[in-house]
Symmetry: C2
Subunit: 248 residues, 2 copies
């Protein structure tokens, strides 16, 4: 394997380049890529050319660099989330049709929530989550449901860690987090008004596999109104349906 | 760049490994990967280890290798299809709710259709397309809509080429393909009963950008019944809505 003076392999550097693109910055120049990755301009330029030849990156008409169609195709056709997503989509569609706004599917990746799918309406309430986007576990309703079912060590680690606040409502007090996690386990859902944005309420329930282990969370994001509670039953029914589809 | 005796770079070989996984074979052993890619077992093993360390691949509990969550995340969050998919999803949901079976979004990649999204019902009519899956342009309704709007050279190339038959109904006669493409342009839709599977009808219409160029196709797959024609108007309305969302 070719390694630079830093000891990094070609693959390490290629991943650094691929990781520079985000939903907010899907197109970057080679210079921006060099700055974002800390790689020399010449190295960046050579890697971009190689990755473009392979279809993992693509060039815009105006010279910007983007994730290539081949990259999307390689990861999407055998995606690790594919089975879960296919089991969940019909139920997400039903939830979205009835509740409106946003219906979401999420999994835990380490100490973060990773959003696997989201169905949204035009004009829906504000929502910071994005498909393939992450949020810290303590902040969102999906995250609290997933953390409440996570190994005890991870829960203790999160409780001991400084917790970032998105709004004054975000849980940042360790004792409150411990109490909320116990409550989520007892109730079987998380309902959080204004934890990520003052105007939005998240409601999430766990999805379980055949052994009863929590493998994902299904959630809705709706405006802060008392009616938000009415979504709990729908979510619990959807989660049971998704579990059944997963097991079949 | 490290190159083997074949002159192939590490990145080339890594992509060969990533490309070995499909929707039907999402998990492979290192030995299977070596066979599928034609790479030496030792090379395959080393690359799998490196790709796993980077999260681009992941190991199952039983030792199988899969596409990793990080690979999916890197390609999904800045996916080249993201804008189109987000514009189309609400309309796909409406189509799917009304028509049932399958509602799909596709683009052209060279001489193939690439399916970007699909909403399906349990118990829907059989459908060979898969998300991130490909079909040849001449065979499916989406493909015919995209081919009818493709550069004339590509159309002539397809007409001159041997055309694979999925069923006795698949268009394989060059004169018939030429006539059908002209008809699709005149009518503004493609309706094909039994071209890919004897039991299914595909109906597709083009999605245009601000300049009027065809950038994608929206389609439904339904059983072979006269009512399939009733979906044309719905698809045309959906395509106009998606175009409007794309342009805004």
């Amino acid at each position: 394997m070719a390694r630079g003076s830093s000891g990094e392999s070609v693959l390490d550097r290629a991943v650094r380049i691929l990781a520079a693109f985000t939903a907010d910055e899907p197109a970057l120049t080679v210079t921006q890529l060099s700055t974002r990755t800390g790689l020399h301009l010449a190295t960046t330029s050579r890697l971009v050319r190689q990755l473009t030849d392979l279809g993992l990156l693509a060039r815009d008409a105006d010279g910007g660099v983007r994730i290539g169609m081949r990259m999307w195709e390689l990861s999407a056709r055998a995606a690790p989330t594919r089975g879960l997503r296919e089991a969940a989509l019909p139920f997400l569609e039903d939830l979205h049709a009835v509740v409106g706004h946003h219906a979401q599917l999420a999994i835990r990746e380490g100490a973060e929530v990773l959003f696997v799918e989201r169905l949204s309406s035009p004009g829906a309430v504000i929502n910071y989550s994005q498909v393939a986007g992450r949020l810290p576990l303590h902040a969102s309703s999906s995250g609290l449901v997933l953390l409440a079912a996570a190994p005890a060590e991870l829960q203790e680690e999160m409780i001991a860690r400084p917790l970032v606040a998105f709004t004054p409502e975000t849980i940042t007090d360790p004792r409150r987090l411990r109490a909320v996690l116990a409550e989520v386990r007892r109730q079987g859902y998380a309902l959080n008004a204004g934890h990520i944005h003052p105007d939005a309420t998240g409601v999430a329930v766990p999805i379980r596999d055949a052994k009863g282990h929590v493998v994902a969370a299904v959630s809705v994001i709706v405006p802060n109104r008392p009616e938000a509670r009415a979504t709990i039953g729908m979510l619990q029914a959807a989660a049971r349906g998704i579990s059944r589809s997963l097991i079949e």
